[in-house]
Amino acid sequence: MDTQFAQRRRRDLIVAGCLAVIAALVPLFVKDVYVQNIMVLTLMYAALSQSWNILSGYCGQISLGHALYFGLGAYTTALLFTKFGVLPWFGMLAGGAISAVIAMALGYPCFRLRGHYFVIATIVIAEIALVLIQNWDWAGAALGIDIPVRGDSWLKFQFARSKLPYFYFALALASVAWLVTWWLEDSKWGYWWRAVKDNPDAAESLGVVVFNSKMGAAAVSAFLVAVGGSFYAQFVSYIDPESVMGFQFSLLMALPAVLGGIGTLWGPVLGAVILIPLTELTRSFIGGSGRGVDLIVYGTLIVVISLALPRGLVSVFSWRKEAAR
């Protein structure tokens, strides 16, 4: 019984390690820059969705405002670098820390709300932040910030010629987000979060401080998403409010986890691997007609998957486990 559980966790870790190694080898064979670009984005969204999943999947506090933390990460890094010459590596940590603090400050009033009211609050707050940034002249207002690129440098984390460094960083980020989730899943926090999601009253009666649990989940989740935002700013080297804090980012963080299996370890990875290439491919092959056919196809696929597998794509893999019981 106990050993079975330990075995499953070890197996998850080994599978993840193998997948990471395989992913690391892919660029040796795939030289096409367009495909490499899609791979970077896939890994980035896998990391973002994994982080979103901590608050919304495990702890059950559905946020559709995580674009706020993504944007905060991007802006913190870009502003610190362009205005004060602070290296992006420190910017990343600063962005993460600021986001974690803001997530808790916002959580203080918002975690008193339950269900739909909480979701609405997250959307509205992210939209307010977007408008504020659009009107903040020092931060470039609606025009955004251009990060000057002066040659390839790990120190400044900018590369003009190759996508590979970005690829490996994105892979590392996705791995870290997965590992954090893996570790938290079998920790006091992991159990508390799932208990809070399933039944906050029962959780409270068992000594779980529901409010603090939510705050913890929000802080971890926001921190990791902000690091993703910092990475994105370096990757595209030009940011404006709409392109890092738009509502679509909130959706693109939620969708992979929801499609793959919300509140599961593998759901976000699986969802991102399928969804992000699909987004890019439908756009490049059937987009551009101006009629939005790509969005229709894309939307239809999402609806079909959610109808066929309401518990997410991971449920395809779990039927064998159920049968084995």
């Binding site: 019984m1 009666s205 019981r325």
Partner: protein, 248 residues
């Protein structure tokens, strides 16, 4: 130990609870001694559940105080009372449905054990004690109602309570299931845990409890040995109406 063993484990002193114009509890003072099984009974609407929730810390009373283990816990939230040794079940079961049975119990065990491995081990022990070990890896959602009741008890026991509050755990069960429940409660008491149980099925509770407290219209009507309580004319009239009381 700050509290002497002779002091009651739980005491409510002049507790009032008003919901707007409705008085659910008026001037309720009860005490529960260490190692006792006490039944809190009364007809529907007597204020049993309200009193139960006040003791568990779901809400603070409008007036009065609640003393647990020699400490005033009137203003403490539920989670902190659990920390001090109050465990409870819910009348309408509140399992963590998407989690397995053992994971449900681990949530309770974590308050006393920070190491996951030990919490897990503890959870299996409690499941064994409650006769749910065979169901450990099932999802809580897949349990039958009587098993869900037992899971509630298991989860609460995993928090290592001094006082276990049982909210109608025996109601709505078949006679055989109820008998298993009664035995479980006796086993719990044998481990040194004090039990306060709300029930309204008198014939099951009476043989089990050491003392019964009858609530009616928000007040303590009478308390005493179960055999005395059931013969009391006031209790009969509260349950069945005045006509029957006169006949008795």
């Amino acid at each position: 130990m700050t509290a002497l063993p002779e002091t009651p484990l739980l005491e409510t002193r002049g507790v009032w609870q008003r919901f707007g114009g409705l008085v659910a509890n008026s001037d309720v003072s009860i005490s529960v001694g260490r190692g006792e099984i006490v039944g809190l009974i009364g007809p529907n609407g007597a204020g049993k559940s309200t009193l139960f929730n006040l003791i568990a810390g779901v809400l603070p009373p409008t007036q009065g105080s609640i003393i647990f283990d020699g400490e005033d816990v009137t203003r403490l939230p539920a989670a902190e009372r659990c920390q001090r040794g109050v465990g409870r079940t819910f009348q309408v079961v509140k399992s963590f449905e998407t989690m397995t049975v053992v994971d449900n119990v681990i949530v309770g065990a974590l308050i006393r054990n920070t190491k996951m491995r030990i919490a897990r081990q503890k959870a299996y022990e409690v499941l064994e004690f409650c006769g749910l070990a065979a169901r450990a890896d099932k999802l809580a959602a897949d349990l039958v109602p009587s098993e869900k009741r037992r899971l509630e008890v298991a989860r609460a026991l995993a928090t290592e309570p001094k006082l276990l509050l049982l909210d109608e755990v025996l109601t709505g069960l078949t006679p055989v299931e109820a008998q298993t429940g009664v035995e479980l409660v006796r086993k719990v008491r044998a481990t040194g845990v004090t039990v306060l149980m709300v029930e309204h099925v008198m014939e099951i509770v009476m043989p089990l409890v050491d003392r019964a407290i009858v609530l009616n219209l928000g007040k303590v009507l009478i308390e005493g040995k179960p055999t005395e309580v059931v013969r009391n004319p006031e209790v009969i009239s509260a349950y069945l109406g005045d006509r029957h009381a006169v006949g008795a």
